[in-house]
Symmetry: C2
Subunit: 291 residues, 2 copies
């Protein structure tokens, strides 16, 4: 697929995702965080365009270089806005997906999914090193149970090189506790499933409600990695359970708003869930979803 | 300047402009129109990226082709969203400015301004024809006092060709009543002046307030073309006067919100004013304004 078409689809996905409201706990057009405002996400979505286009062009044959693209994407994000980590998780998902879309002739989702899996399987040690180099800039929290790899410094990079771990192999380890890693090594199962859900919801309810409902549904099905790491297992279970209640009672707007206020007040932001919804939106837009 | 830098600066300008609130009468992150929603503006800002990039690249030497770029930009807008005219006025301003920025080595604003003037002076009959072809898709209202040119059909295009009128010459005629035309043939005087104002406001108040204040200031200084054409001279004067009161009393937020509600209720949207602020934001971002 044409690289500008792919890049625009990915960029629109980022913009629509961050704009949707009420989206319990996260930045939306109605909510800023203290340091990261809605405008920072707009600027960051603008910043990554050339990298997304290059990802699509790379997929078409100039060789796989996922790690470098993610790192460059993070550098662009920082150059264009001062709100800190806006799109690290989303970039990790969108980069191989954009490469896959660029490599495919048509918007056949089965083909894009297979190609994205293949790209992840073929990642190299250098891809791992580059993604690790992108980490500190993003100030992403990591769990302490892979001790030799959890500190984002030159020692970790040395360990990756010594053990000759590819990005895929590293993500295999973190997939046990990290939702984004699980997508990246698990064939983007949720991403493509939620793309279908988004299309169905959008037909019924328009784009904003489609996004907030898909987000809430995913939150009710999977514990969010950010929430679990920052606020612990109990809080994470509570968030999932509360999302499930709202989904089961039919996505009552009043309840969604209350849940949003509650999470915002406590600073609980289910960022991984938002990243996966952005990736799912990208797939849905590639297939023709329009506003 | 690098074409991706130029295109991103223009795109970010469109996104920040439409997001700012309260911006009396216009679409913002808190207001939709009936047919044109906030999301339509997001999608349209995404849609025009490749055209903005090409404008910057063209400026660097592949020949002036402003009309074609505007028409392609409008086609992209329509392909990516169904909300009707989102960015016609903004594209008319941003296209020659992006070409000028692409043609200049540095972000010297004097140089970019001179180059943009030169691009406008050098527009051709074909540029005029192409912009006229872009018109109907945008459903832009035109005044009836240039009778042979006001109907956006093949007869007008024939008249342009017969009289050998360049885009510059046609805009010279409409400059008497149209704010955008006045910018295009008047050396983008307001655009560059408001770029400076935006930078000053942003330093004091952050980006959102900078945009809403600059918008209100321009509304208080110039009657908006859209408002004048759709709602008549009296309403237009009232809007300008009301804006002046709010500016003079120090941009009271409560008053801005009330004015916004009032205009939204009556469907009065000062679209030309918003277009000029988007162009001014582009210049300010080119020079380094960041969120």
């Amino acid at each position: 697929m044409n690289e500008d078409y792919v890049a625009r689809s990915a960029q629109l996905a980022l913009l629509l995702e961050v704009s949707a409201y009420p989206k319990p706990g996260n930045v939306s057009r109605t909510h800023d965080f203290v340091d990261t405002r809605y405008e920072h996400f707009l600027a960051s979505s603008v910043a990554v365009y050339p990298v997304l286009r290059e990802a699509a062009a790379r997929g078409r044959g100039k060789g796989v270089d996922m790690g470098k693209l993610v790192r460059r994407g993070m550098e662009e994000c920082i150059e264009w806005q001062s709100g800190g980590n806006t799109h690290f998780g989303a970039l990790l998902l969108l980069t191989p997906l954009a490469m896959a879309a660029g490599a495919c002739e048509s918007s056949d989702m089965g083909e894009i999914k297979r190609k994205a899996e293949e790209i992840m399987l073929n990642t190299s040690v250098e891809d791992a090193v580059e993604v690790y180099r992108a980490f500190p800039k993003a100030k992403v929290k990591v769990r302490r149970d892979v001790p030799e790899l959890d500190v984002m410094d030159e020692a970790s990079i040395k360990a990756i090189r010594e053990k000759q771990l590819s990005l895929y192999e590293i993500l295999k380890i973190s997939a046990s506790y990290d939702l984004i890693s699980r997508e990246l090594v698990g064939g983007f199962e949720r991403t493509f499933r939620y793309a279908r859900l988004l299309r169905d919801f959008a037909t019924e309810r328009g784009i904003n409600d489609a996004i907030t409902r898909a987000y809430l549904r995913l939150l009710s099905e999977e514990e969010d990695t950010f929430v679990k790491m920052e606020f612990g297992a109990e809080k994470s279970k509570y968030v999932k359970g509360r999302a499930k209640e709202i989904v089961n009672s039919g996505y009552e707007l009043k309840e969604m708003k209350e849940f949003d206020e509650e999470l915002i007040k406590e600073g609980i932001n289910p960022g991984s869930t938002a990243d996966i919804i952005a990736a799912a939106l990208f797939i849905a837009i590639l297939e023709g979803l329009r506003v």
